[in-house]
């Protein structure tokens, strides 16, 4: 039956039930993942953003919530602008490469 509107899926994130093994593994291999303060400089400068909505800030958040990051990551070109602009000095390229390496979802 069409009521002219639909209900969207709940976007509630229950941090107690989320599987964080991937994030913990990532932090083990690239501890910089923990110091991100989600400022979004990386998203603003990203070369891949216009094509796949790539945003490293979102990727780091999504990994902590165990959400799918593959579409975003697929267009990263490792150009390194995010590394250059990061105010926390995160080695973003290594973080992305590590994710490519350990991603198992």
């Amino acid at each position: 039956m069409d009521f002219g509107f639909s209900l969207s899926k709940s976007s509630t994130i229950n941090l107690d039930t989320v599987d964080t093994t991937l994030f913990r593994k990532l932090c083990e291999m690239e501890p910089d993942a923990r110091i991100c303060m989600s400022c979004g400089s990386c998203s603003a400068s990203c070369t891949a953003a216009p094509f796949s909505g790539m945003s490293l800030r979102k990727v780091i958040l999504a990994i902590q919530r165990d959400q799918d990051v593959r579409p975003m990551l697929s267009n990263c070109m490792l150009c390194g602008k995010c590394t250059m602009v990061c105010p926390r000095g995160i080695n973003t390229r290594h973080l992305i490469l590590t994710l490519y390496r350990i991603y198992d979802r």
């Binding site: 094509f51 697929s74 267009n75 390194g80 490519y100 390496r101 991603y103």
Partner: protein, 609 residues
């Protein structure tokens, strides 16, 4: 001169014979194995090059120049050059002259290949000395002296490397030390052995006085045999450890030169040509001082010399660490005497990693970008990094307008990366995909010139892109052409700049003079202590995958210190990455060459009015 021992044999030659047979068979086996590991196409190329007279001459000349005389080392460091060429060339001459002696005096023994080595033991001088004999004896003593002088220098170098202007050298492992001491022992023992025998076999200015001296207090011939035994054993030890030590570079380099001249490239980081390069590394440690990462004694064990060492040992963990950390600035390759391709070796090594995720760019539609790039003769590509330093693109655009060039800016609104960062990360397939996307845009635009301002992109366009009919030009070259055609009017400023050679532009593409010409025409120019091919990486390089921000800062500061030695008012560079990196810590302005040119130039028409 006659044969003294009728059988022409003594048991003391056995250790030498054993060592010789071992090392020769090992090298032969290794050679066949390396050729076997080459891809079929490369092998064919190599074998064909061996019958090309031009390459044969080049091979012989290069082997003489690099393996025996060490011309490159002489240019770099006179003392090191003398040390190496005295040992290598002196030893070579001793072997050649030894054969000549056998050939002239006891030709029937020429087939015994230990004879030239122990010649003085097996012969006796009777009657008058011929002029030939005296000359040969003199030359033998002379070259022995030359080698001994080299050995003395080598000993000094081991104790006090600063005497040679080297701050750091590689630390030899145990086997290397055994090889080293055996090598040191060979020639003094040979001198002793020949001296003890000199009253029988004859000698020259070195051996005869030594013989006389020893006879003053050692009045019998009993010392003769033990020293000959010791000489033979030292040779045996040296040759038996040679394949497992850095001295493997002696035979390996002789094979590396013909392969390199044939144009063979590294395809696999553990097999074939790469393996040969690893074995050709002489462990001299010149790359340690050259490496920008070794600033403040950090990362000392991550230089190319340690990469080749770990590759020989098969230490996977360290190989990965070393190959991921490198900035790929290419300086170790430039200073390397045998030209071990450290950066290339690392890039190929990185391609061995396994990733669960692969990038996929098929969703990117290039059609809008093709349309936005069409309609002009000159297509300007600023590169993605230039978006962080917008002044570069704006200045280039302003200059192009002043010179009235028909151009279009391909990635003004953001484009794709050139693919080089992906390539240097070892992900060749993904890099190729990006390359194809860009090729589509560039070829579809209808331009005949691709103007590039980022040296990273420039190197990539030059080496990896198939752009038929399109001229790829770096802006420093292009602006020089504009000035030559008098399309711009320049006014010289009194500021003085020091030019920092970006790695990818200088060592990567060999462009050193054009940016300097541009600066020289529009302002004053000074030179840093280390410039051109010796230029120090800014530390911001995308080559490194694992270096942290803090580690990079040290490198940037060291590179800046080098630029400050010029006492210039400002720093000029031609790379957006160098510019962004230096701007962070520099105590004086950092400008791109386009900015300098733009500030000093005006359209020709204005001048005429």
């Amino acid at each position: 001169m006659i044969d003294r021992i009728p059988s022409g044999f003594h048991p003391f030659v056995l250790p030498f014979l054993f060592g010789m047979v071992f090392v020769l068979s090992y090298c032969l086996f290794g050679m066949v194995r390396i050729l076997w590991q080459l891809p079929k196409k490369d092998l064919r190329k190599f074998l064909l090059s061996l019958i090309n007279p031009k390459i044969i001459v080049k091979n012989c000349w290069d082997i003489l120049k690099d393996c025996l005389i060490h011309v490159k080392l002489w240019k770099r460091n006179k003392l090191l050059g003398y040390m190496h060429s005295s040992i290598a060339f002196g030893w070579f001459m001793l072997i050649v002259l030894g054969h000549l002696e056998v050939f002239l005096f006891v030709p029937e023994r020429i087939h015994m290949f230990y004879y030239p080595i122990f010649f003085n033991y097996f012969v006796a001088e009777v009657g008058d000395v011929t002029i030939q004999g005296a000359l040969l004896m003199f030359l033998m003593d002379f070259f022995l002296l030359v080698v001994l002088s080299g050995i003395v220098l080598a000993m000094i170098k081991r104790v006090h490397s600063r005497f040679f202007g080297m701050r750091r050298t590689a630390r030899p492992s145990l086997l290397n030390q055994i090889g080293l001491y055996a090598l040191w022992a060979i020639f003094p023992l040979r001198l002793l052995a020949e001296s003890f025998t000199a009253h029988i076999s004859g000698g020259s200015f070195l051996t005869i006085p030594a013989n006389w001296l020893f006879r003053q207090f050692l009045g019998n011939d009993l010392n003769m045999l033990p020293t000959w035994w010791a000489y033979s054993i030292a040779l045996c030890v040296f040759m038996c450890v040679l394949p497992f030590t850095r001295y493997m570079h002696i035979p390996a380099e002789m094979m590396l030169i013909p392969l390199r001249n044939a144009g063979i490239k590294i395809r696999d980081s553990r097999k074939g040509f790469a393996k040969l390069q690893v074995y050709s590394c002489p462990n001299c440690g010149v790359c340690i001082d050259a490496c920008p990462m070794s600033v403040n004694r950090g990362n000392l064990k991550d230089c190319t010399v340690y990469l080749t060492r770990q590759m020989r040992r098969g230490n996977e963990k360290r190989i990965e660490e070393i190959s991921d950390k490198c900035l790929l600035c290419g300086k170790c390759h430039t200073v390397c005497q045998v030209q071990v391709e450290g950066p290339q070796l690392r890039i190929i090594e990185r391609s061995r990693r396994h990733y669960n995720l692969s990038p996929d760019y098929s969703n990117i539609d290039v059609q809008p970008m093709v349309e936005a790039s069409s309609g002009a003769k000159v297509l300007y590509f600023s590169g993605c990094m230039s978006q962080l330093t917008p002044a570069i693109g704006q200045s280039v655009e302003s200059i192009l307008k002043k010179a009235d060039v028909d151009y279009v800016w391909m990635d003004r609104e953001g484009g794709l990366c050139c693919g080089r960062p992906m390539l240097t990360a070892g992900r060749f397939e993904a890099a190729k995909e990006i390359v194809h996307k860009n090729e589509e845009i560039i070829l579809g635009s209808g331009a005949d010139t691709l103007l590039v301002s980022c040296p990273i992109c420039y190197k990539m366009f030059k080496e990896e892109y198939q752009l038929k009919g399109i001229r790829v030009v770096h802006y420093s070259q292009y602006f020089n052409e504009l000035l030559q055609q008098e399309k711009l009017h320049l006014e010289k400023s009194d500021l003085c700049y020091v030019f920092h050679d970006p790695c990818e532009l200088g060592r990567g593409c060999g462009i050193y003079d054009e940016p300097r010409k541009l600066i020289g025409k529009s302002a004053g120019i000074a030179e840093a202590e280390k410039n051109r091919a010796e230029s120090i990486c800014c530390g911001g390089s995308l080559g490194s995958l694992t270096l942290s921000f803090a580690q990079r800062e040290e490198m940037t500061r060291a590179a800046l210190e080098n630029l400050y030695t010029s006492r210039a008012d400002a720093i000029a560079t031609a790379c957006p990455l160098c510019m962004a990196t230096f701007s962070r810590y520099a105590d004086r302005p950092v400008r791109d060459i386009a900015e300098i040119l733009d500030a000093q130039s005006s359209p020709v028409s204005e001048k005429n009015q």
